[in-house]
Subunit: 346 residues, 2 copies
């Protein structure tokens, strides 16, 4: 929150997949010593919490809470979330954080601590900020973000989807075959939310994160999640839900009426996300929202883009834009929807 | 050509469809007096050549030649081409021209001379320039172009297709239902062309535009065209081909080896452009090329995007990017191809 009471809910989102050229084609897990008893071999979870904390200092955010299962460590941060599994790193930060300052240190950290020297795939994305001028220098416009990443990667590919003079969404990825296991990510980025729903996410209206999660319905979005969530003072809410096999959902709520923003993200594999998206928008009642769907060739969701391309409307919302990109291994769909203005009273 | 011998072949391309709210739903052609004997009713061809010349002064280019048939006036310009039909205006200009300076004057001219007060659709597009810093101020980056057009239109929608850190392509259009007759446009934008082919388009190698057109094969790209073309000194070539029913092809060649560029554009209606594109790339032998295909719901070409989405290669060229946008009435496909580097000699 800055002095004007404005908060930039829009997150910067980084997802990186690592591997080790040392273990190439060999079954050489034995070459690695056990670290901390739990983890052996090239694994991002070998990195000490204190080293993650150092990395997050560069971003200007910190760890609030952490929960784990056997496949993933999920962190709630002071500004959004971090998910660490064997070879996949996800960092999502909102506000005035400087996520890109962590990319090069992350690569060094992973190389030195986990012997993982290869970036198999990388995705940096964000919606256009509401107030770009309040961001740290490297994030003030997508050109500077792109130039920063171009200085780190030889095969970077930068895109803008949607309307550049409205709510577009930027992506920087690398032109690789990338991840060779089923993978998909759905994001629902919502603005202009229902004030009554937003009220739930304040200490004035809810006594705890549990209460806010239960009353709003966020905690029931998926069955059988390990939930870790936090209700900020005076308002704001973050939730991580851990599901089996490295699957997650994460929800972040910026309830301030003049800059309300909610993001929903998941990598849960589904053939169609229609039902899940419907649940999410019925819960939050946004005035407008964007969908982004990534799916690679082995993903259950690989044909969901066809369903989306036929939907001129989503519930009461009208589609504004629909774009589809084919990358080497992934397809990406961007769609934006708007609730038409209510008819004036007669 | 500037002092460094660099020429920006990349064109700015404007297409505007006009109509008259005065003739709305009425058969009121009689309300208009005959202008010049040939044209009655709301028709862009009622505009005097001298008024077009004044408009083109704002762009910093001039008319070199003109040919017509009953449906269209086609102009070869000192920098590219202009096509004027009853309700469609196309202006394509290369080099350091300032096309956007003509947009507002064009709207006024059409309103005052032709009683056409409505813009049914508008498309402004260009590839990323090779040397943006040499462009006039309004054209130096897409943000300034977008802001200029946003100042003229309430419902503008601006997009970037392809890689913003490589050869992307920008589009500004308006969010309208737009044109209600079959319409389609194909562009093939080529770079790094074969030097032997480029040699043909110089006065050193060809005695006339006719010879350059015939030797290169450009004149035979379509049967039965009315051809108007021009060979520039010392090199460079422009060609307009008029086909029945307001159809055209236009080809522009910048042959300088260090900045070679060729554009091919047509609105000829075809179910598949595969054969035509193959002809064009076999003729010019580019190192890389972009395709853009617009087709509206009534167009023969409306499903060509599906064919393109399946083509990972085009002849010997590998696909780099493939993007697809659905607008209210048009779909748009952007695809980029690269010739893989030749294997080193053994």
């Amino acid at each position: 929150m800055n002095e004007e009471g404005f908060f930039e809910g829009t997150e910067k989102l980084l997802e990186v997949w690592f591997s080790s050229s040392l273990s190439d084609g060999k079954s050489d897990e034995a070459r690695y010593t056990e670290a901390g008893g739990r983890i052996a071999g090239p694994d991002l979870r070998r990195i000490d919490r204190s080293l993650w904390e150092d990395l997050l200092k560069l971003v200007h955010c910190e760890i609030i809470s952490m929960k784990s299962d056997k496949d993933m460590d999920a962190y709630v941060l002071s500004e959004s979330s971090m998910f660490v599994s064997k070879n996949r790193f996800i960092l999502k930060t909102c506000g005035r954080t400087s996520l890109l300052h962590a990319v090069e240190p992350l690569l060094s950290l992973v190389q030195s601590e986990c012997d993982m020297d290869r970036v198999d795939d990388l995705f940096y994305s964000r919606k256009k900020y509401t107030r770009p001028e309040l961001q740290p220098a490297v994030h003030q416009n997508f050109n500077t973000e792109m130039n920063h990443l171009d200085s780190l990667f030889d095969n970077g590919a930068a895109y803008a989807l949607g309307r550049m003079n409205a709510d577009c969404w930027y992506l920087y990825t690398i032109d690789n075959i990338g991840v060779l296991q089923p993978d998909q990510t759905l994001e629902v980025l919502m603005q202009d939310l229902d004030p009554d729903v937003m009220d739930i996410f304040s200490v004035e209206h809810s006594h705890s994160a549990d209460e806010a999660g239960r009353t709003s319905g966020v905690s029931q979005l998926m069955p059988d999640m390990i939930i870790d969530h936090f209700l900020f003072e005076p308002h704001g809410y973050s939730m991580n839900g851990i599901l089996p096999n490295g699957q997650y959902i994460t929800v972040h709520v910026t309830p301030e009426p003049h800059c309300s923003y909610v993001s929903f993200e998941t990598n849960v594999a589904e053939e169609s996300y229609r039902e899940l998206i419907t649940k999410v928008i019925k819960l939050f009642k946004p005035g407008k929202f964007l969908l982004t769907v990534f799916a690679n060739k082995d993903s259950l969701a690989k044909n969901f883009y066809k369903e989306l391309s036929r939907l001129n409307c989503f519930e009461a919302y009208h589609r504004c834009d629909h774009e589809y990109c084919q990358f080497k291994n992934y397809n990406l769909t961007f769609t934006s929807y708007l609730r038409p203005p209510a008819l004036p009273p007669r």
